[in-house]
Symmetry: C2
Subunit: 309 residues, 2 copies
Amino acid sequence: MPRILAITGGVGGAKLGLGLAQLLSPEELIFAVNAGDDFTHMGLEISPDLDTLTYTLADLANPDTGWGRRDESWEFMAALAEMGGETWFQLGDRDLALHVRRTDLLRQGASRTEAAAIIGRALGVAFQLLPMSDESVRTTVHTDRGALAFQHYFVRDRCQPEVTGFEFQGLDAARPNPAILSCLDGVDGIVICPSNPYVSVDPMLHLPGMRDALLAASAPVVAVSPIVGGAAIKGPTAKMMRELAIPNTAAAVAAHYGDLLDGFILDEQDKGLEDALGVPAIVTQTVMVTLQDRVNLARDVLAFVQKLT
Amino acid sequence: MPRILAITGGVGGAKLGLGLAQLLSPEELIFAVNAGDDFTHMGLEISPDLDTLTYTLADLANPDTGWGRRDESWEFMAALAEMGGETWFQLGDRDLALHVRRTDLLRQGASRTEAAAIIGRALGVAFQLLPMSDESVRTTVHTDRGALAFQHYFVRDRCQPEVTGFEFQGLDAARPNPAILSCLDGVDGIVICPSNPYVSVDPMLHLPGMRDALLAASAPVVAVSPIVGGAAIKGPTAKMMRELAIPNTAAAVAAHYGDLLDGFILDEQDKGLEDALGVPAIVTQTVMVTLQDRVNLARDVLAFVQKLT
């Protein structure tokens, strides 16, 4: 089997990540995870995308919400509300332990990468989960209501403000995770999972040197379109594209990634578009409802990577 | 009714505090609370004595443990253990909300006094709960196993190490809570509740200027002995006294407070000792099992204060 680096953001990324994890061993699959969504909430270091991926691979994820753990209880949140605390970001009792543990590990001097590894291992995840950087990068969403920290835009304000642009704060002082850079030489394929290009993938691509390192890698870079038939499966991608006056099409996503791409994967609903992309493309079912859907897409992705090698 | 300042530490202090709170209005009763037990645990600011008093007055306390909330759940703790976190200090799901809320308030710039008031009010406590200082003072217990942070000695090591002395770190930079000092002129009595003299009351008495301010107050200072018939009702007071080669008697407690005292309250079991103390004393039932016991003792304390005025 090929050695794959999977670039993931939120729920879509975790879905394909799980499919890949069914087919590949921990020696064959490494995850590079968006950390632009990370934020400090009530003193707790929260990494929503990393957490979603960790819970998904640990078989602890809540399939209904796309965040947090399943079989969760909410006693903490109820008591916090009673005490006048902030309740716009929901923290289940068991989920909270992850954030407290990470915060504690970071305070003790662990890097974000080390904290992710310790927590992943404790939850039974054998795959390497590499935050995009050990430095802090925070996505700011510029909107008609002003500049919003990403989680304020995404969770508190439910993506309702109209987006005018994005800013990734801390980029200048951040470096790509050295473990991601050092694996680029040895991988056979780089898969950009179907995550939001603007807020889940771009923070990583904008890290100083990251895009160049991906361009320099000999392995093909393949992206799976998060836009299917003009809509996003989940999340605000299509809404953001409309607000930014970008056609909300899979082709616009491919154009956004530009020369980074060696291949693009479209959904069956977008059949016919593949010849107009200027990059090799395949069409398959990218909408993942069942575990089998995830595995099937992962298999198609791997076959496409192999063909491009 | 007289206006009373109650100096409290842990469980014993909260018990008499509740008795006093049954008899006095929030205008008549102010609490000065030990904060030497405070510690930062996994980034959370925890104030065990203040929390015990707050929960007790809010009718949320766990009567079986003497700490935490009743009807508590432990999902957070189970998940934290699963992730390899520190589990020696038990944090229930709802109790945790208090610590997260306080930590958040302090991070936002609230003083310890303001945080205590906000949380107290939210839980329905109308009484002023004044931490002994807005600055941080941390009790270190010197033992045969070395210097231990108080909660390490008390909770993690279950008071097993042999005590050789105490140290209150941060005293030099700490001032007594200005709200405590400013109420001293207006109170009719100062009650040192039956708390551990060495670790629950001494941190407050050792604050620069605190003892002098209490001596200068015209109101009588009355202490209730935490030692009954040579034993402590709860906690390590008697064990500490033995280890420090102090007779584990109520008389030794009175001698410890020395010229601060205008009156001392002994348990019935120590009847006969009252004339040897060198300070006016009464004998009553100080062991508080039921709510009525708490109210009865509070009534006796108030009558004694009135007699001494």
